[in-house]
Symmetry: C2
Subunit: 142 residues, 2 copies
């Protein structure tokens, strides 16, 4: 219940980038974006279906009040990625062993960044960093 298909990912990419730019997205946007991504001309309903599925997966929130519905990513790309990583980790007993192997494979720059985050003020690393993180707190009236 996590990994995305190609089209789904394409749509999420748009929504994620738009979230950063504080922009809302309509079906048209998604259609244009997805179409541009793989050169194909998709049907409107195709993208709509994908959006609906992403909504059901709680990856996308839909503003049903506005006329052309507005779509937003529920969580950031980074948060989603972390969820995937934790999902992968969820199945192992020895999490530390996995983490050891994991950091053995990251780049020097990333290792340095991790070191900084872990050494620095612990609060900063432990804080959920709620800056600009989108939430699902909308009316959602039927």
């Amino acid at each position: 219940m996590a990994s995305l298909g190609d089209l789904e990912r394409s749509v999420m990419d748009l929504l994620w980038d738009s979230t950063e730019a504080q922009t809302a997205n309509s079906l048209r946007d998604a259609l244009a974006h997805a179409g541009a991504e793989d050169g194909k001309e998709l049907a409107v309903t195709t993208v709509l279906t994908v959006l609906a599925r992403l909504e059901k997966k709680d990856l996308v929130a839909r503003e049903r009040d506005t006329r052309p519905h507005q779509y937003r990513a529920v969580m950031s790309r980074e948060e989603h990625t972390v969820e995937l990583m934790n999902e992968a980790l969820g199945n192992v007993m020895d999490r530390e062993a996995v983490l050891a192997r994991f950091i053995g494979g990251i780049s020097g720059g990333e290792a340095a960044a991790l070191r900084r985050l872990l050494e620095g003020p612990a609060a900063e690393a432990a804080r959920p960093l709620d800056s600009g993180t989108p939430h699902t707190t909308s009316g959602q009236s039927a």
Copy 2:
């Protein structure tokens, strides 16, 4: 090409545990294990099919010389998990942002372990730690 189904995971769990215990596994073992896991009595061919699929996915190596073929996990559970994590990470631009959020969510003990691994002799963390890691270097004659 990564995440596993329930039966596949069940079989892999056996193989992974056996790898640690330096034990080889036959179809019988897998059948018994998978059957015990979810209480159901599976058909032999079912497990065989799963094993074949896992082999095709390069998650399992099969010793075809011995009569009841012997099955082994190609990589450890930890290595596989790391692969999944990297697969998740593969799609993002800002890896460091993800890592920041990721370590924000791990436990104190794990953070401490990471700190130890990152601060300690860098060589130890950077080394692929090849202790007991199974490889696919077998005859594999048709």
